[in-house]
């Protein structure tokens, strides 16, 4: 069978059209490179639009005491000192420039009284630091970058008569394979989702900016695109992934109705009197107060209820325990069979406050659920459970150049798909600034890499043919398994066994089940043709989701401590010895995930000096502390 393949030549191919991808593409084009942007959806729809809070940058517009050193410290604290210190340093130093630059592209942030960019407070940030536009900062960012790309295309049009002479957006296009010559990137292979036709981009440098992995989880705030494509492409090209055990979950996301599944329910619902109940109607949090918190938290419902009015003389209700404790409790109730059919518990504020009071205190929550789901939170309880939100782990990169580690050259990664920057937990607001800082660096260094390259690597025809066969396989498989069933089974495994609270036995079980799923995914089939066939697209995404899930499960089993986005019930404490170690995943010759331990880069004394000793003693080993002056 002969297959038509459209061929293109570029200097830099950027896979992903969210904030990181667009910023990288701008930089590559400014360096004079012919640049392609691959967008899995339409141009401008990327998941970056969902970011509400803002972009963290120590501009000091609201509080002049803020500077990069404070931001750096906050970031390291948030990541429990597992962050790649150099990335956190570059991020803190360069974020303000990247934000200011957006204004020259036309961005309109909210302003301070003296006309500067306004900055708001956010959890974990010592000073007001988040540049924002109401609660739609992500949209502003993506639109600004999108419009900057258009403006560059207009310059090219004026010069060459073609908008696409130097930078082209391939919208609704998915890359299924990176092609190499030896260890060097030679190009990328994929398909147009609209037509199902194949496309081959020959290019010596590829920037991965594909975002996260949330679609492998039952309850997630992520969109369908988040199938870990970049993570998997990197692995298959010979790169490595780090920190894959660290996923950010929110304890109370909506689990039902489906129209709002995954949407976060802010903590203030509990702060304002909302209580958690199981399906027996019991307020169960009193059973889950750990000994260390026993003295600060109420023991009876009466005392807890008095706290809302009189916090001085009463102890806090147990609903306000730290995030992971609440999540653990919800998890236990559901596993004990006292959860709802959708796998959640009930968060009840309706029976606790008068309707007008709820509307007054939680206006956006009230309107969001009313509009999206017709759920009236003043009348009925919400069904909530842990929601997968963000993956800290990703492609292991050189902090300065964003070049991928492992045995591959010409591969770069930025944004959520890269790992190290956020350590074990990401602060709110740090992802928008992360993708600008490292998107720019990735684009810049990808361009420089192509300059230094003697001759363009050439891909082998056999590899292209193999990629074509792999892509077409699900369509020709008679009686293959339904991809939606497989995805939903994978989501159950990851959600139930590699979710927010993890145990050794369950993780081992998960790995076994992932192996079974691997066999089934190899036999996935799609009905219908090649033209805009979502079933076929999902069938091709599944193998990416599977290999990335395996990395997460393996690393979660290996790391025997609890830190940031990784909570082990059997190892509930943070262990300074484990802070010294990154878990690195790669693929061996047979395509299986191989895991090894690698030391975390050591922070130089001038950066260590930014923290006081008592704080460091929470994270560092005794051995390390003796070296700190």
């Amino acid at each position: 069978m002969t297959t038509r393949i459209e061929r293109h030549h570029y200097d830099v191919v950027v896979i992903g059209a969210g904030g990181a991808g667009l910023r990288a593409a701008i930089e590559a084009r400014l360096a004079g490179k012919r640049t392609a942007i691959i967008s899995k959806s339409l141009f401008g729809k990327a998941h970056t639009v969902m970011a509400e809070g803002g972009a963290a940058a120590a501009m000091g517009n609201v509080n002049s005491k803020d500077n990069w050193m404070v931001h750096f410290g906050d970031t390291m604290r948030g990541g429990k000192f597992l962050n790649n210190y150099r990335m956190a340093e570059l991020h803190a130093k360069e974020a303000p420039e990247r934000i200011w630059e957006l204004e020259t592209y036309g961005a309109l942030f909210d302003r301070t009284k003296d006309g500067k960019i306004s900055q708001r407070n956010f959890g974990g940030h010592e000073y007001p630091r988040l540049a924002h536009v109401g609660d739609r900062t992500g949209l502003e960012l993506i639109r600004t970058l999108q419009q900057k790309i258009v403006s560059l295309q207009q310059e090219d049009f004026a010069e060459t008569g073609s908008y696409e002479s130097k930078i082209r957006v391939f919208s609704e296009t998915t890359i299924t394979e990176l092609l190499l010559e030896g260890d060097r990137i030679a190009g990328a292979f994929g398909y147009y989702r609209e037509s199902g036709e194949f496309i081959l981009l020959e290019a010596p440098a590829v920037v991965l900016a594909t975002g996260g992995v949330g679609r492998s989880y039952k309850v997630t705030s992520n969109s369908w695109e988040y199938t870990g494509d970049g993570h998997a492409l990197a692995l298959r090209a010979g790169a490595t992934l780090i920190n894959m055990e660290f996923l950010q979950f929110h304890p109370t996301g909506m689990v039902w109705p489906p129209s709002v599944k995954g949407i976060l329910v802010t903590e203030s619902v509990r702060g304002d009197g909302g209580v958690l109940k199981n399906t027996d109607g019991k307020r169960f949090m009193f059973n889950y107060v750990p000994d260390v918190f026993r003295r600060q938290y109420a023991e009876t419902e009466e005392e807890a209820d008095r706290w809302y009015k009189d916090p001085e003389n009463n102890r806090r209700p147990p609903e306000l325990l730290p995030r992971d404790e609440v999540a653990r409790a919800i998890n236990s109730e559901v596993k004990a069979g006292r959860g709802t059919k959708a796998g959640g518990v009930l968060l009840d504020i309706a029976s606790r406050l008068p309707a007008e009071e709820i509307q007054r205190r939680l206006p956006s929550m009230y309107h969001q659920f009313k509009e999206l789901a017709d759920v009236d939170i003043t009348k009925e309880p919400m069904e909530v459970g842990p929601t997968c939100h963000y993956v800290m782990g990703g492609v292991e990169v050189d902090p300065d150049s964003a070049a991928a580690f492992g045995h591959v050259e010409g591969l770069f990664a930025a944004g959520e798909v890269s790992g190290g920057m956020h350590g074990s937990n990401r602060l709110g607001g740090n992802s928008l600034s992360d993708l600008l800082v490292f998107g720019k660096r990735a684009g810049e260094h990808a361009a420089a890499y192509t300059d230094a390259l003697g001759k363009r690597p050439k891909m082998a025809t056999g590899d292209v043919e193999a990629a074509v066969d792999a892509a077409l396989a699900p369509l020709s498989r008679e009686g293959g398994e339904n991809p939606y069933t497989l995805q939903s089974d994978l989501q159950v495994v990851m959600g139930d066994l590699v979710g927010i609270i993890r145990r050794e036995g369950e993780l081992a079980d998960a790995l076994k089940r992932l192996q079974e799923l691997k066999v089934r995914v190899a036999n996935v089939g799609s009905t219908g043709g090649r033209k805009y066939n979502p079933g076929w697209h999902l069938a091709l995404d599944l193998r990416n989701m599977l290999v990335v899930s395996e990395c997460t499960a393996k690393a979660a089993l290996e790391r025997e401590e609890s830190r940031g986005g990784h909570t082990r019930e059997d190892f509930p404490k943070m262990n300074p010895q484990w802070r010294l170690l990154n878990l690195v995943c790669s693929l061996d010759e047979t395509g299986d995930v191989h895991l090894e331990r690698k030391p975390v880069p050591k922070m130089p004394p001038e950066l260590l000096g930014l923290f006081d000793r008592t704080e460091l003693s929470k994270y560092l080993t005794d051995q390390e502390l003796t070296e700190v002056k």
Binding site: S41, L42, F43, G44, K45, A46, V49, M50, M59, P96, E97, W100, E101, E103, T104, Y105, G106, L108, F109, D110, R111, G115, K116, V133, G134, R136, L139, E140, R143, Q147, K148, Q154, E194, S223, W224, E225, W256, P257, P258, S259, V260, G262, I263, E371, L372, A373, D374, N482, Y484, T485, S488, S526, T527, G528, K531, Y532, N533, P534, G535, W536
Partner: protein, 335 residues
């Protein structure tokens, strides 16, 4: 509970409405039903979606004939046994099922001149007041769902208008840049009139009605843009609106220059067209010249072009005959 759905399926070569009975749970939206169809009966049913929270503008479709976002249309908004019919956007070419080719919009986006940064202002030195950025921020809320483009009757059933007409999405883009406190270009409104086809719009407000972000497209972007265009009496619609009324009916102050009188008429909301025009701070519109009776010259109304008729009259042939010149020089300051 099972509900009855009709979904258009097919591609550029044709298609048909297909019937489905699908389980519907409480609190679900139309997009949930499409996902259920994909997961069960029709894995290859084509439909765009991303965020499923009304923030990305991907799942645009027509539900019972109305342009809507699938993720924002709750099943509870229909009657209990109402059949729900889902069809693709009508103004754009079909690709497959509910997916249409929206590249028209991206082409128009590419033709709209980008933000022009003010020369000599370094990054970090941009200073703007909140009150000044808010006007443009309203338009930057746009999630590019293209429902306004789809519903606009100028292109909805008139493919032939597409080359000359950019549509509401790009009118608000032009307005946004026009109102941007630091944009260096001054020709945004001229561009809108001359290259975006603003004059085709006759302010039926359909775009405003379908906007899921509740952007006041017509009132806050299109009308103020048109109003400025009135300066030069380019826009046939506003021009016509002004012909129909006598100047004194426009609430003019009577005496004084034409400039003042018409500007104040806009402020008091004299005409249907100018009623919603906000005082924009731009140059106030100029009124056309009128006859002694306070009415506009009728000949101007009948003219085929907006620039006013020949001062020699339309029935004149050139070259003019000696002594047969009908032209009369108007007396200045007649009233």
């Amino acid at each position: 509970m099972e509900r009855h759905f009709r979904v258009w399926r097919g591609d550029a070569s044709g298609g048909e409405i297909q019937d489905f009975d699908v389980e519907v749970n409480e609190g679900e939206v139309v997009l949930d039903i499409i996902h259920r169809l994909q997961a069960t009966e029709t894995p290859d049913l084509a439909c765009r979606w991303n965020c499923k929270a009304g923030k990305c503008g991907s799942c645009s479709m027509e539900i019972n004939g109305k342009p809507r976002l699938g993720c924002m249309t709750r099943m509870s908004t229909f009657e209990e046994n109402e059949t729900v019919t889902i069809t693709p956007l009508r103004a754009f070419p079909i690709i497959r099922d509910l997916v249409t080719d929206v590249s028209f919009n991206y082409e128009k986006a590419r033709e709209t001149p980008a933000f022009a940064p003010p020369p000599g202002v370094a990054p970090g030195d941009y200073r703007m007041q909140q009150i000044d950025v808010e006007r443009s921020q309203e338009f930057r809320k746009c999630i590019e769902c293209f429902l306004c483009q789809n519903t606009c009757h100028v292109v909805r059933d008139h493919e032939e208008n597409k080359p000359a007409f950019s549509g509401p999405r790009y009118f608000i883009r032009a307005a946004e840049l026009d109102m941007h406190p630091l944009d260096d270009r001054t020709d945004r409104k001229d561009y809108s009139q001359e290259h975006q086809g603003l004059g085709y719009c006759n302010i039926t407000k359909c775009c405003t009605e379908v906007c899921p972000e509740h952007i006041k497209i017509t009132d806050n972007a299109i009308i103020p843009m048109k109003e400025r265009v009135v300066d030069n009496r380019y826009d046939p619609l506003v021009w016509l609106g002004r012909k129909i009324f006598r100047r004194d009916q426009l609430g003019a102050t009577g005496t004084g220059t034409g400039r003042e009188s018409v500007a104040s008429s806009a402020a008091t909301g004299g005409t249907g067209v100018a009623a919603a025009v906000a005082s924009s701070g731009a140059r106030p519109p100029e009124g056309p010249a009128v006859n002694a009776d306070g009415r506009l010259d009728v000949a101007e109304l009948l003219s085929h072009q907006a620039g006013g008729p020949s001062p020699f009259g339309d029935d004149q042939e050139f070259p003019l005959r000696d002594g047969g010149i009908t032209y009369q020089h108007p007396e200045p300051d007649k009233n």
